[in-house]
Symmetry: C2
Subunit: 386 residues, 2 copies
C-alpha cells in the first residue's frame, strides 16, 4: 500500500498549513524548498517526455576574493523501459533513448554535471544470480557503447556526465566491476571509479558478480568542480564518504538501486549525514519501479519464489554541507532533479564548523589499524563488581 505514495513532501504539503509547514521544513530539511524557475520550454519538454522536473538552489555567502562558483547539477532517476525478456540490444537501445531524452532536458536547462543511476544501462538483474543474458550488458568503461553514446551528449551540451555501468574489464581476465565513468565536457573520458563496498543483503547478490573496487577514493577535477562517486551500498559506510572528502571532493554522487522494504528509513539519513560530516554536497539517486524477471527466485527469507525484487523508490535528492537538503523526487515516476550549487559553500562551512580541523585523523588511523589486526583487543572497561 505504501508503494502508492508519491512522496513524503507531497503529503506534508497537502495537509500542513503554510506557516507550520515552514517550521516542519526547517526541522526536516533545514529550510523551505528554494525553488528555481526554469524556462517554460524546458518544463514543456520534460512534460512531453514524461519526466518529473524539479529545481532548487543552495546559497553561499558572498566573498571578497573568490567569485561565486555556481554549478547546476542534474540527477536522473528512471525505470527500465522494456521488459527484461526483450533482447539485450533492444532493452539497451530503449534505455539509451530514454536517457537521451533526459539529458536533452537537463542540457537545455543548462545543467553542468549530470549523474545517472547505478547500472543505468540495464535492469538490476543481480537478484537472479543468473549470468546470461544479464552479463551481456557489461561493457568497457573507456569505449563501450554507453560511453560512446554519452560522449556525444557531453560534448553537445558542454556538460560533465557521470555514467554508472556494469564494467567488463577485458584487460584483466574479463572480470566484471560496478563502475562509474566520468565523461568530460569535451566528450573525453576523464577516468573511472569503482564501487568500494559490495552488499550481501536481501536480494542484492552482487557479491557473486563483482568484487570490492580497487580504485581507491579518486576525486575528479572537472571543469565544474571536484567530484567523486560513492556507488550505492558504499553510502552505508561513513569512512568511505570521508575519504572522498579528504581527497578534496566538493560534490559526491551516490548512484543507487535500493528497495522500499529494505532501506527506505536509511535513505534520507546517510547521504545527508555525509554532506554534513564532510562539508560537501551529496547527491543521492535511486532508480524507480518494479522489475520483473522471467525465472522466479527465492530471497533467503523463507518465502516463496517470486519474479521481482520489490519497489525501487526513487526519492533522489541533494544535501548541502550546511545541513539543508532539497525535497526528494517522486517515489514512482521518472524524474530529473536540478540543483544550483555554489561550491564556495563547502569551504565556508568548513571554516564555520571546523570538522576537518577537529577530526583527529591520526587517532583514527591508529584505531582502525589496531581494529583490523587479528590480535585486536577491544578497549573494554569491566564493571569489577560483576
Amino acid at each position: 500500500m505504501t508503494e502508492e505514495i508519491e512522496s513524503l513532501d507531497k503529503i506534508l504539503e497537502k495537509y500542513i498549513p503554510a506557516e507550520e509547514l515552514k517550521s516542519v521544513q526547517r526541522l526536516l530539511y533545514g529550510c523551505s524548498p528554494r525553488k528555481v524557475l526554469l524556462d517554460p520550454s524546458v518544463e514543456a519538454q520534460a512534460q512531453e517526455t514524461n519526466f518529473e522536473l524539479a529545481s532548487y538552489e543552495f546559497f553561499a555567502q558572498k566573498e571578497d576574493l573568490r567569485a561565486p562558483r555556481h554549478v547546476r547539477v542534474g540527477l536522473v532517476q528512471n525505470q527500465i523501459v522494456q521488459p527484461t525478456t526483450s533482447p539485450v540490444e533492444s532493452q539497451r537501445s530503449a534505455l539509451f533513448k530514454r536517457i537521451g531524452d533526459a539529458i536533452d532536458v537537463a542540457g537545455k536547462a543548462g545543467a553542468n554535471i549530470v549523474c545517472l543511476q547505478e547500472a543505468w544501462t540495464m535492469p538490476f538483474a543481480f537478484c537472479t544470480r543468473e549470468r546470461l543474458p544479464w552479463t551481456e550488458f557489461a561493457e568497457s568503461a573507456e569505449d563501450g557503447a554507453s560511453t560512446k553514446f554519452l560522449s556525444n551528449y557531453a560534448k553537445k551540451y558542454g556538460m560533465v556526465i557521470v555514467s554508472p555501468i556494469l564494467e567488463r574489464d577485458e584487460s584483466h581476465g574479463d572480470v566484471l566491476w560496478n563502475t562509474a565513468v566520468i565523461i568530460s565536457h569535451t566528450g573525453g573520458v576523464i577516468g573511472k571509479t569503482r564501487k568500494n563496498h559490495v552488499p550481501r543483503v536481501g536480494d542484492f547478490n552482487e557479491s557473486t558478480y563483482y568484487m570490492e573496487g580497487n580504485t581507491g577514493h579518486r576525486v575528479f577535477d572537472t571543469k565544474f568542480g571536484k567530484i567523486a562517486v560513492n556507488i550505492c551500498y558504499g553510502r552505508h559506510h561513513p569512512q568511505n564518504w570521508m575519504m572522498y572528502g579528504l581527497n578534496g571532493a566538493e560534490i559526491v554522487f551516490n548512484p543507487s538501486a535500493t528497495l522500499g522494504a529494505l532501506s527506505e528509513p536509511f535513505w534520507p539519513i546517510e547521504a545527508r549525514n555525509a554532506a554534513m560530516a564532510n562539508s560537501y554536497f551529496a547527491c543521492a539517486i535511486n532508480r524507480v519501479g518494479t522489475e520483473m524477471y522471467p525465472n522466479a527466485f527465492t530471497s533467503g527469507d523463507g518465502k516463496e519464489a517470486h519474479n521481482d525484487m520489490g519497489h525501487f523508490y526513487g526519492s533522489s535528492y541533494v544535501a548541502g554541507p550546511d545541513g539543508s537538503r532539497t525535497p526528494g523526487l517522486s517515489r514512482l515516476r521518472d524524474g530529473i532533479l536540478l540543483s544550483d550549487l555554489d561550491l564556495n559553500l563547502c569551504r565556508q562551512v568548513k571554516d564555520k564548523w571546523g570538522f576537518r580541523m577537529t577530526q583527529r585523523s591520526d587517532l583514527y588511523a591508529q584505531g582502525l589499524k589496531e581494529a583490523s589486526s587479528l590480535e585486536f583487543q577491544p578497549q573494554i572497561v569491566k564493571d569489577e563488581s560483576l
Copy 2:
C-alpha cells in the same frame, strides 16, 4: 517564532490523517511509534514533578540459543533550575534536586540505565569565556559531589547512571575535562570517558576551557550491556561513532547541549546515522531552555552583545540499528524518554546488513594514515583537456 513549536511529531499528528500518518512515520522513523504503557503511578509522579514522560520499544527476533536481552534505557533532558546569578552551591543543589526527581520517576518505571545531559550539574556557561564562577562547577569524576549524589540513586534502583560533568583533574595539574562518569548499579564508579572532539563553532567556546579527550573510545561492560558515551560535538564525527562500535558498544549515548539556530537540521540525522552504520542503539540527549548570563557577550557574528546563547531545543530520541527511531521529546519541556531495547537486535542487524564484514578497516587505516601525514597528496584525477 519557531522556538514556540513543541515538536515536529506533534504537528504531524495534529494535521495528517491516521492512515497517511502511518506512511509518513514509516518514511521518517522506520515505523509508527511503538508506545509502551507505564504504571499510572509513574505517570502521575512525572506529571507532579513536571516532566514529560514518553516510552517506546524496539523489537528483535526471537533466537533459539540466546534469550532476549531487554534493557530499559532512560534519557533525561532538563532546563537549569535557578538563575545563573545564584550562588554556585545553590544552583547546583537545585539541579541535584531536579535530577533526583527525574531519576525517581525513571527508577520507579524500572529503568536499567539512565543518561543525563552534557554538563548536567551547571549552566552551559562556556559561551561567556569567563572562568569564575563557572569553573567552580568542576569536580572530581571519582568522588565529586555529583558522583556521590548519583551513587546513592544507582544503588537504590540497581541502575547504571551515565553522568556527564565538567571534570577537575587534580592529579594532573588541576586541568578541566568534559567527562562522563559511568556509575555501576552497585553505586561504584566503573570508569570515566572524555569528550574526544571539542567545538570551535558559534558560542561553543569550550576549546578555551578543556582539551580533546585522552581516554580513547572506551566501552563499559555493565550489568545491562556494553555502553559508550560520545559527548556532544563528537556526534559530528562518524569515525568517532565508529570506534565505539569497533570496541563492541551496543548502546552509545550522546549527551549534548546544542542550539536551534545552529544545529537543528543536523540533530535527527547524526546519531541515527551512527546507529545504522554501526549496528547499535544511539541515544541523543539535548538540554532545554534559554540560559541568561549576567554579563553580555558577543558571538563573533558582527551582532550586538547579548546575554544568552539561544534556545536549547531538547528533542532527545533513541535510534535503533535497524533504521527505526522514537519520536523526540519536547523542544520546550523537561522530559524523560524511556526506551525498551532488546540488545539482540544489534547482532541480528549485523548479520543482515553486514556492515562490519564489508567495512574494509585496513583500507581506511591506510587512507587516514596518509591523509594525516604532512606529505599527503590527495588522490586527484585531472581532466587533461583543461
